[in-house]
């Protein structure tokens, strides 16, 4: 079975669990490094970022005082999740990633060609996710404390990232909850934040239909998780001397990571945008040029044999074609009528 089919299945299961698991009383906690939205009532585990921003908006006296222990335990839980699973959260678990992949599947089923970032565009905007990460840390801090002598920010700015994350309008929809699709006119801050949210939600739908994993390129959670790229349990290794730079991996990569094909001298290939979907390994025809590793041990390796076997399932072989045409001229590809 193709990796991306298995992945879609795993994503679907994770989606159901993360969105509806709570209805059965199941939960895997509130420090999950994935966009399992806090606004979904029956969630089976929720996104790390909401409580994180809440913690940060506390006055420093309590953040480093009474709740310090709770905060540390909370960070520690996140650390363990991120260390063990790392970017597999992006590729295999994230509900927003799954929704984008679904949009892509729909687009492909309709035969609509996708689009790609120009290389320069992709390179130019890589800082955005780090900027969002810095903002989602600084803005909450400015609510409970005065930063550099500035006046404290309005509480309307609470959990700023959640206010603009596309999870907020979309994920509650799976309970029929449309209450987050609105522009809130109660204050200027609210107007700005909810307008931004609607804009990003629109972008999510539109761009998701045009390009694979469009918004993932700007996700601050990916920025956080990429801190664990080198030390995480799951790895992606490249053997440069076996690579022919044929570009199969680059074309297959939903995140359009050029480095995977172009760099020969780099061993660890979990780059800042990588979501460990492992599609690159699947389409690599060179033995052991790419390998997925768990704790340093290879678990899935590229090979010519495996490549051909997987590809053969997609190929339409002449034998399966129109029998009457077949004997006319061996090797002729039967025409479709």
């Amino acid at each position: 079975m193709r990796i991306d089919r298995i992945r879609l299945l795993v994503q679907a299961l994770c989606f159901v669990f993360l969105i509806y698991g709570g209805l059965l009383g199941l939960s895997i906690g509130t420090a999950i490094p994935t966009m399992s939205c806090i606004y979904a009532e029956g969630r089976g585990g929720s996104c790390f970022l909401y409580p994180f921003q809440r913690f940060l908006s506390l006055p420093w006296s309590s953040l480093f005082g009474s709740v310090a222990a709770a905060f540390l335990i909370y960070l520690g839980t996140f650390f363990i999740w991120a260390l063990v699973f790392g970017k597999t959260f992006c590729g295999w678990i994230c509900p927003l990633g799954f929704l984008q992949d679904l949009l892509t599947k729909i687009r492909e089923a309709m035969g609509i060609d996708g689009s790609r970032f120009a290389w320069a565009t992709r390179d130019r905007f890589q800082w955005v996710k780090y900027a969002l990460l810095v903002l989602l840390i600084l803005l909450p801090m400015g609510i409970g404390n005065s930063l550099l002598g500035l006046p404290r920010f309005t509480p309307d700015l609470a959990v700023p990232f959640c206010q603009i994350c596309p999870g907020k309008p979309f994920i509650p929809l799976f309970y029929g909850d449309t209450s987050h699709i609105l522009i809130d006119f109660s204050s200027l801050t609210k107007i700005i934040m909810t307008s931004l949210s609607m804009l990003i939600a629109g972008l999510f739908l539109a761009a998701g239909f045009v390009k694979r994993r469009y918004l993932c390129a700007f996700c601050p959670m990916a920025a956080l998780l990429s801190l664990f790229d080198r030390i995480g349990f799951v790895g992606l290794r490249k053997k440069g001397e076996a690579c022919t730079r044929c570009g199969n991996c680059f074309r297959a990569c939903p995140m359009e990571i050029r480095e995977i094909a172009d760099l020969r001298d780099r061993k660890h290939m979990v780059t800042q945008d990588c979501m460990l979907c492992l599609r690159c390994i699947e389409v690599c025809p060179e033995d052991k040029a790419l390998q997925a590793t768990l704790l340093g041990f290879p678990v899935f390796s590229a090979s010519a044999e495996g490549f051909l076997k997987r590809q053969a399932r997609t190929a339409v072989l002449p034998e399966s074609g129109n029998k009457s045409v077949k004997n006319a001229d061996p090797g002729t590809i039967p025409s479709e009528h």
């Binding site: 492909e108 297959a252 051909l308 072989l317 590809i333």
Partner: protein, 442 residues
């Protein structure tokens, strides 16, 4: 942008030349038949040759016996191609037969010589010779000849050939790493698709392309098995025969070739089980790289093997490189499949016409390891400037890694065979001596 048309009478520049043209054709026909028979006479004396070489031999014997039967009997359109840069999948998908026209005959090179400057690539001279004289009918029968602008010779070849056959030029970008190059090349491939559809009158659909790509993958699977068998400590097949197997791909239908290659692979596996080698284990293992080696120019492979070397692999666009790199079939959409084919044709290609030299260097080092190579022979055809240019830095890198090398600069003509033999024999002896010094069993 197709110039020339099929069945154009080869109008000599000067009517008085008509006689000369006919004489040149007669001489080529005679000499070609002689050199082909000579090759097969020598082969018939060899022992231990795999019997499954027969279908490949049959193709080449026809060069002498029945030049109009080299290609399979087919009602399909024939598309001539001059380089690996043309994705053959597209031609199969358009219901046509691709024919690789890169030529290796010294007699044909002589017949084409008059139209070229002194130091010219013998490959284009030979191709022009065949096209001009029509001695091999396939050079004139093609419904379209596609010439990628890989090297300067090919850039100018189109104008010469378009006097006899319809020619389409395909512009190949030389800088693989740039995005603009890739987009340009993707567009060229689409232009090729349109031309093929126009010539064949058939639309290249997604399903037909998938079938064609599947066809190629089956061949590539056999090719990879074949190459892997050649990595064995035992030399299961002569390097010249291996080159012939790949060369036969030029003229055979993909399905026929795959079938023949599968039979050969089965035989080689049996030979491996019986420890039946074509070359004694004392023969030093040699890699051949550089300018293409095309039938009937077996000069270099024969020199190496007759001098006691084992030609275990080659990195040539005419054989070792030919079917190695594989494109993805499971791309989601038709346009993605075209991009996949475009990338496969150019990105992994180690031809020195590209600015990138690292890919070839990496490939060579990997092959030296995989095939346990002891010495490298660089084959530079006179006039093949890209290989010549790339050689010096490449030689330095290989030398720094302790690889023994021999550079052979030659053309197709047999004139320099004897001096070359002395050099190749000396090289093989050096490798043997080196092996003794390294303490390996001889």
């Amino acid at each position: 942008m197709i110039t020339g048309k099929k069945g154009d009478t080869p109008h000599p520049l000067n009517p008085a030349d008509a006689d000369t043209e006919a004489r040149v054709a007669r001489r080529l026909s005679l000499h070609l038949a002689m050199s082909v028979r000579e090759i097969f006479d020598a082969i018939s004396l060899e022992k231990n040759r795999p019997a499954s070489m027969a279908p490949f031999d049959a193709v080449f014997r026809n060069f002498a016996d029945a030049p109009d039967q080299i290609l399979p009997a087919t009602g399909r359109k024939k598309i001539g191609i001059y380089c690996m840069a043309v994705p053959e999948e597209l031609i199969y998908a358009a219901g046509a037969l691709p024919v690789r026209l890169c030529a290796g005959s010294s007699d044909a090179a002589e017949a084409g010589e008059a139209l070229f400057p002194d130091v010219s690539c013998p490959m284009v001279k030979a191709a022009t010779g065949f096209t001009r004289t029509g001695v091999l009918s396939m050079y004139r029968d093609c419904d379209l000849v596609i010439i990628p602008t890989t090297c300067d010779w090919k850039v100018k070849l189109g104008e010469l050939l378009s006097r006899h056959v319809p020619v389409m030029m395909l512009s190949v970008p030389k800088l693989k790493a740039a995005e603009s190059s890739r987009r340009f090349w993707y567009a060229e491939i689409r232009r090729l698709v349109q031309a093929l559809e126009k010539v064949t009158g058939k639309r290249i659909t997604r399903k037909r392309l998938r079938t064609a790509m599947g066809l190629l993958h089956e061949a590539q699977q056999e090719f990879r098995i074949f190459q892997t068998l050649r990595m064995d400590d035992l030399c299961l097949i002569r390097g010249r025969d291996a080159a012939a197997v790949a060369n036969a791909w030029f003229y055979m239908d993909a399905a026929d070739w795959t079938h023949a290659a599968r039979t050969l692979n089965e035989e080689l596996k049996e030979r491996k089980a019986q420890s039946l080698a074509t070359t004694p284990p004392s023969a030093p293992r040699i890699l051949l790289t550089g300018s293409p080696v095309v039938f009937p120019n077996w000069k270099i492979p024969d020199l190496i093997e007759n001098a006691g070397g084992a030609l275990v692999c080659d990195e040539l666009c005419s054989s070792g490189r030919l079917l190695w790199d594989m494109a993805c079939i499971d791309e989601p959409l038709f346009e993605d499949m075209l991009d996949a084919l475009a990338d496969r044709a150019v990105l992994p290609c180690t031809c020195p016409v590209f600015t990138d030299t690292e890919d070839r260097r990496t490939k060579l080092f990997r092959m030296i390891q995989d095939y346990k190579v002891e010495g490298v022979v660089h084959h530079v055809l006179k006039g093949c400037h890209p290989y010549d240019m790339e050689l010096r830095p490449l030689e330095a890198k290989l030398a720094a890694a302790g690889v023994s090398q021999l550079k052979i600069e030659t053309d197709y003509s047999p004139e320099d065979t004897e001096p070359l033999r002395t050099r190749v024999e000396a090289f093989v002896e050096t490798l043997k001596g080196r092996r003794l010094r390294m303490g390996k069993s001889a």
